[in-house]
């Protein structure tokens, strides 16, 4: 199996992480994970099954790198399960604008962020309910919400800065 699919698995990993050594490590991890769960491999779908494992490995790698890069003070509060929803710099930034403006900004977001934000921030669904509606894993939806809030906060802060600049002139 390794000899047959190593090219495919390495290519998937490399296309997602864009680094030779990391792609090779992730490809090895993929085959180890496949070996552990070989009884769950659907017959005739080995290619897709291995590609999915490789994608998951690459996703975990990219996500940890992205979280490290984007983390700011106050994020720990958001990351905690069951933490109050109205804390953290993103929530404060969103609370500082009017409902109409927030709705406009959310509906202007691109996919895959628009639908989860509309459901959770405008229509009041919980992330678990929104995940069911969007047919996405809850963890993925939470990660998308987290990034979407960061995007909205950056946009709001940029607008404020430009407004302040105009006023000071």
């Amino acid at each position: 199996m390794v000899r047959t699919y190593q090219g495919l698995v390495y290519t998937v990993c490399y296309q997602l992480v864009q680094d030779n050594d990391t792609a090779q490590d992730l490809a090895q991890d993929t085959f180890l994970a496949a070996w552990r769960a070989i009884d769950r491999c659907p017959a005739g779908y080995e290619k897709q099954w291995l590609a999915r494992i490789a994608v998951n490995k690459a996703k975990d790698h990219l996500r940890s790198g992205w979280v490290r890069k984007m983390s700011t003070p106050g994020d720990e509060v958001m990351a905690l399960a069951g933490a109050p929803p109205d804390e953290g710099p993103e929530a404060k930034a969103l609370a500082g604008i009017g409902m109409d403006e927030l709705e406009k900004k959310i509906l202007n977001l691109r996919e895959p962020y628009r639908t989860p934000c509309r459901l959770c921030l405008l229509e009041g669904y919980t992330p678990a309910e929104a995940a069911r509606i969007c047919r996405r894993p809850e963890k993925t939806l939470n990660a998308q919400l987290w990034r979407a809030k960061k995007m909205l906060r950056q946009e709001i802060e940029q607008e404020r800065r430009s407004e302040d600049g105009t006023l000071s002139r």
């Binding site: 390495y10 997602l16 864009q18 690459a58 992205w66 895959p112 996405r136």
Partner: protein, 175 residues
């Protein structure tokens, strides 16, 4: 370039950009998140991975993967063997030092404290009339639990030593 369609799936040009390696880090993360749960897009993506698109890794992966699998297997086997070895050494040490008998005797004496008091047998007049059945003679009962335990352990030891002796002789014969 739009990476996602309005229905939330990846666009054809988004998939092509992923294959060509022109997506930025956030785009690749978003694509990976989507491909990790969407079967249709995964099918579309793997269909693009044919021919020249598939790159071979700089080093053959079969050897390091095989080595890792072997290490995992060895770790499992050695772990179990180590636990069994430690248990055997501990048991032998206790046995040779005579501590095992002491431990058994102490536990037995402490167990005896929990044995309920003996019930007085009913008076002869209260018993039903005897039938012709006569009870077979019972073997002499050991009064102490420690005695029973010691007898069991020494029996086991005798059985083990006699079996070792037999296997030794059989080996000698084979030789």
């Amino acid at each position: 370039m739009e990476l996602f369609r309005d229905d939330g799936c990846l666009t054809d040009e988004g998939l092509q950009a992923l294959v060509e390696g022109t997506l930025d880090e956030l785009g690749r993360l978003e694509a990976a998140e989507h491909l990790s749960y969407c079967d249709r897009c995964l099918d579309r993506y793997t269909a693009l991975l044919t021919g020249d698109v598939v790159e071979q890794p700089p080093r053959d992966l079969s050897r390091p993967v095989g080595r890792s699998i072997l290490i995992r297997l060895m770790q499992n086997v050695y772990g179990r063997m180590a636990v069994a070895g430690v248990a055997a050494v501990l048991a032998l040490t206790l046995w040779r030092g005579g501590s095992l008998g002491l431990i058994l005797a102490r536990n037995a004496s402490s167990l005896e404290a929990y044995v309920p008091e003996q019930i007085e047998p009913p008076a002869a007049s209260e018993l039903p009339p005897k039938s012709n059945y006569t009870e077979p003679p019972r073997p002499e009962e050991k009064t102490s639990v420690a005695e029973k335990a010691q007898e069991a352990v020494s029996g086991l030891w005798e059985a083990l030593t006699s079996r070792d002796g037999q296997s030794d002789t059989s080996n000698r014969w084979e030789r």
